[in-house]
């Protein structure tokens, strides 16, 4: 019964969405840091070519681990960061091209709510001054009208008119976040970027702010980009969700579908990592190993290949034990780290003299990873070769051999977006092509 209700609800909302127009179109957007200037060197690829649409009146969730580029993406959409490439078309105009007066006028339409209500409000201004600041910037009405409008806004977000003359420190975290929301509403924007608006709040207060945001959306027809790392909040508030990893969107689609039947291996792992408030839940958790790679040195091929639980394995090693694969992955991480670690002068001299350095212990690491495992002959000889190279401090060669022997299409080619359901959900994974098994099948088999 309830299942039916949920399904029909989803249909209605997707029908409604088709009728809706696109508010923001993002095409191949890139934001790189630190490449400008003579000594720029390798840029940090915070957002590395994303394309998606935001429809009028919807809430699009943007989730991912810290450092995956979600905040940068949100800020780039508002032109708080300069895009390195690509387009952000807002009602048909590419806002990455705007400047001067045009940008100033456009900015009225798009506002942002920040994560930390402590640092996003000026402690020396009264609440009234904070909320009317945007009005002053845009020379909105007479002082009298401004004051009336601000009091109205305070009422809308659930504060009282007498709060106009108080200072931010007199309010609790939840109330401060309400002040921040009142400020963003002042110029009646169409589009709001909410950057982790409830992460700093306690659960019970968090629920109040979420309810408020939902009410405001209904009343003013706002469009939200909701950035969060708390997936349960996203599941509650968002119509569609985009999952980000290392500057790329891994999967994007309607919330219910994506949560109940994730297509991308990363979405699978992210969802299974959430601890459920139910002690009897017997979750077969997929624990990801290691940490996301440095966005200055993203891996070749698929961005997720270094941690992917459903990585495509070369057919000749398909029968290799999962533990050996885990060891191989860790060994690769270790080699990558060693390759990039700065060697101090002292270490270089020690190395020259053949003394012990912190890089000399690769044999121990090898023993630690594979010592207790029974490795088939063919794999063992390759691993020995790799470790020999590593012991000579030739990490490049060691990595080349490792990728050559144990790598697959995941390391070599960047995947394409594939449409994985009727609602147009898209996933960024090699496994959606015909010749490979589906991610969910592989995960069932391996976990």
């Amino acid at each position: 019964m309830s299942q039916n209700l949920v399904e029909s609800g989803a249909e209605v909302s997707s029908d409604r969405r088709r009728e809706r127009e696109k508010l923001v179109e993002i095409r191949n957007l890139k934001t790189y840091y630190g490449e400008s200037g003579l000594f720029g060197g390798r840029p940090v690829k915070a957002v590395d070519g994303v394309s998606f649409d935001i429809f009028n009146g919807e809430t699009l969730g943007l989730v991912g681990e810290s450092g995956c580029g979600k905040t940068t993406l949100g800020r780039t959409l508002l032109q708080l960061e300069d895009a390195t490439g690509g387009e952000v078309r807002y009602d048909g105009t590419d806002i990455t091209e705007l400047s001067g007066d045009e940008l100033y006028q456009w900015r009225r339409n798009a506002q942002m709510v920040f994560q930390d209500p402590d640092s996003s409000l000026n402690d020396r201004m009264t609440v009234g001054e904070i909320v009317r600041e945007p009005l002053d910037v845009y020379e909105w009405g007479t002082p009298q009208e401004c004051r009336e409008h601000v009091k109205e806004l305070l009422d809308i977000v659930g504060l009282r008119p007498e709060h106009y003359y108080r200072y931010p420190h007199q309010f609790s975290g939840g109330q401060r976040q309400r002040i921040g929301i009142a400020r963003t509403l002042a110029l009646e924007p169409d589009f709001m970027v909410l950057d982790e608006p409830v992460s700093a709040l306690d659960v019970s207060v968090q629920a109040e702010i979420i309810n408020l945001l939902e009410d405001l959306q209904e009343e003013f027809g706002l469009t939200y980009l909701f950035i969060a790392h708390d997936l349960s909040v996203v599941q509650h508030i968002c119509d569609r969700v985009a999952v980000m990893y290392l500057g790329n969107i891994m999967e994007i689609g309607p919330t219910d579908e994506l949560f109940n039947n994730p297509a991308n291996p990363y979405t699978h792992s992210l969802l299974s990592a959430i601890p459920k408030p139910d002690p009897t839940a017997t979750a077969d958790r997929i624990t990801l190993h290691g940490t996301p790679p440095n966005p200055r040195y993203p891996p070749n091929g698929c961005p997720f290949n270094t941690r992917c639980p459903a990585r495509i394995r070369p057919p000749e090693y398909e029968q290799l034990d999962d533990e050996i694969w885990m060891g191989i992955n860790t060994l690769r991480d270790v080699l990558l780290e060693r390759q990039r670690a700065d060697r101090s002068l002292r270490e270089r001299i020690r190395e020259r003299l053949g003394r012990q350095t912190r890089f000399a212990s690769v044999d121990e690491t090898y023993d630690d990873l594979f010592g207790h495992l029974n490795i088939p002959q063919d794999a063992a000889s390759v691993l020995d070769e790799i470790v020999d190279y590593a012991a000579d401090n030739d990490e490049d060669q060691a990595l080349a051999v490792l990728t050559e022997e144990f790598g697959s299409v995941c390391e070599k080619e960047s995947p394409e977006y594939s449409t994985v359901s009727e609602t147009g959900r898209q996933s960024f994974c090699h496994r959606h092509s015909e010749e490979h098994a589906r991610p969910s099948e592989v995960l069932d088999e391996r976990y």
Binding site: E65, V203, Q206, S232, A273, T287, T291, R358, D368, L369
Partner: protein, 455 residues
């Protein structure tokens, strides 16, 4: 509730690893006295994880810090508080090393009658001060551990090792006893903190020193508590890092905290905490600053460590999901008090206290329905004695008596040890009956609670 009897010697094995009774920590400021922790009782067994959950400002961290002896001025642990560390090996080691500060309770029993002593302290002292139901249950141990022995001239101020049973004169012959954590100071405190009880904090970057290598910081703990130095210490440090799942530990040990990622740093902090083979690990929001995927790794690691070493873990968090996953038993805290305690399954399946219910309902994703349930208002600052229910002003079920009667813990379900401090319970009684029961329990004066007497 346990009743101390003469068979105590035989029961020594059943003692929990740590037994916190009526712990009260207050901060004395010019303006007001804030009772951050106001009479909580928690016990943890070896190999068990006890969760403490609550919103910010509920007193979770102060509880942990009180046990660790990390409360700084103007904060103070009040008289009547007791935190007993029952690990027998530790008691023996302390008894032989600090024999000056050891009290032989087993010998004193013949000389003193607890009831007479109670009369001498204060006629209106309540059994609740000692976490007992009846005045007749109060034992000499309770009185001495809570710090009343000093005034009566039985113990001296620095005594902190209490021997309650022994089969001979030598320290090895001790069969039961405890170390009173709230009375530790100086060398005795330092040996306990970091050696027997260790703590993992929320933010790994603030608990690591940026100017020393990670290996150096682990070696410092090894040197201080186990006397290991040089090559030997380095080897042990590498082994510890490997044990917490840091690959390539031989290289990592010579690196600085900034070269570690967030998850790795927390692993390194856990390695430091494990360096001295503690009996009790206090984790104060250890995963709050981490991403979910890394959080899953750390929780898995803690579980492995506990299985391997059989340590007791006190796990503090505000995340109900994490609590459900890690803990065996849960204490829900609100404004300095534990308002509900139960094993993890009963708590989530059958929450009793209105606050626990509200907290569980405000988690998004849990229930259907469009709007989230909220709890109106904020956690009040506990700045006056609790002679009323501190949750009453936010409670959807509050009635008149809630403002004048302080609720006590009562059994709320058939399941063992599921208690809640709420005037709605016990359920089988009428409202008036329940209220009078709570009133009765709190009677005979709340003694110290009212006065907030400094220890």
């Amino acid at each position: 509730m346990s009743i101390e009897t003469t068979t105590q010697d035989q029961r020594s094995n059943e003692k929990p690893l740590i037994d916190v009774r009526n712990l009260q920590t207050a901060f004395f400021t010019d303006k007001e006295t804030i009772r951050a922790v106001d009479g909580i009782s928690v016990n943890i067994d070896a190999g068990e994880t006890v969760g403490i959950v609550g919103e910010s400002g509920s007193g979770k961290s102060v509880t942990a810090r009180s046990i660790m002896g990390l409360v700084e001025k103007p904060g103070q642990i009040l008289k009547g508080s007791s935190a007993r560390f029952h690990q027998l090996e530790t008691v023996k080691a302390y008894a032989s090393e600090f024999s000056d500060h050891t009290v032989e309770v087993s010998q004193l029993r013949d000389q003193h009658n607890p009831q007479d002593l109670l009369d001498r302290i204060q006629s209106d002292i309540s059994p609740e001060t000692f976490d007992r139901d009846n005045r007749s249950d109060i034992t000499l141990t309770d009185i001495l551990a809570a710090g009343y022995g000093d005034k009566l001239g039985i113990t001296s101020e620095r005594d902190c090792v209490f021997i309650t049973g022994r089969s001979g004169n030598r320290p090895e012959n001790i069969t039961s006893g405890f170390i009173e954590l709230t009375r530790l100071e100086g060398e005795m405190q330092r040996k306990m903190r970091g050696g027997r009880i260790t703590m993992v904090f929320q933010d790994p970057l603030t608990s690591l020193n940026p100017v020393f290598t990670v290996g150096n910081q682990i070696k410092e703990a090894l040197d201080l508590h186990r006397g290991l130095t040089g090559e030997e210490a380095t080897r042990e440090a590498v082994e510890l890092l490997e044990a917490v799942g840091i690959p390539d530990a031989g290289r990592r040990v010579d690196e600085y905290p900034h070269q570690f990622s967030g998850g790795m740093r927390q692993r390194a902090v856990i390695a430091m905490a494990l360096a001295c083979e503690p009996e009790l690990l206090i984790c104060d929001e250890p995963t709050t600053a981490l991403d979910v995927t890394i959080q899953a790794q750390i929780l898995e690691l803690l579980e492995e460590i506990q299985e391997e070493r059989d340590i007791g873990i006190m796990f503090i968090t505000h995340d109900m999901g994490v609590i459900a996953e890690v803990s065996d038993r849960v204490n829900v805290m609100y404004a300095g008090e534990v308002i509900e305690k139960a094993d993890v399954i009963s708590l989530f399946e059958n929450p009793k206290h209105p606050y626990t219910r509200g907290l569980l309902q405000s988690i998004p994703g849990g229930q259907g329905g469009d709007r989230l349930q909220t709890i109106e208002g904020n956690v009040p600052t506990p700045n006056e004695p609790a002679d009323y229910c501190r949750f009453a002003q936010r409670c959807p079920k509050a009635f008149d008596a809630c403002d004048v009667v302080h609720p006590k813990h009562v059994e709320v379900s058939e399941q063992n040890d599921h208690t809640a401090a709420c005037l709605l319970y016990p359920e089988e009684k009428s409202q008036a009956g329940a209220v009078s029961l709570h009133r009765e329990k709190g009677k005979a004066g709340d003694g110290d609670r009212m006065r907030g007497e400094k220890q």
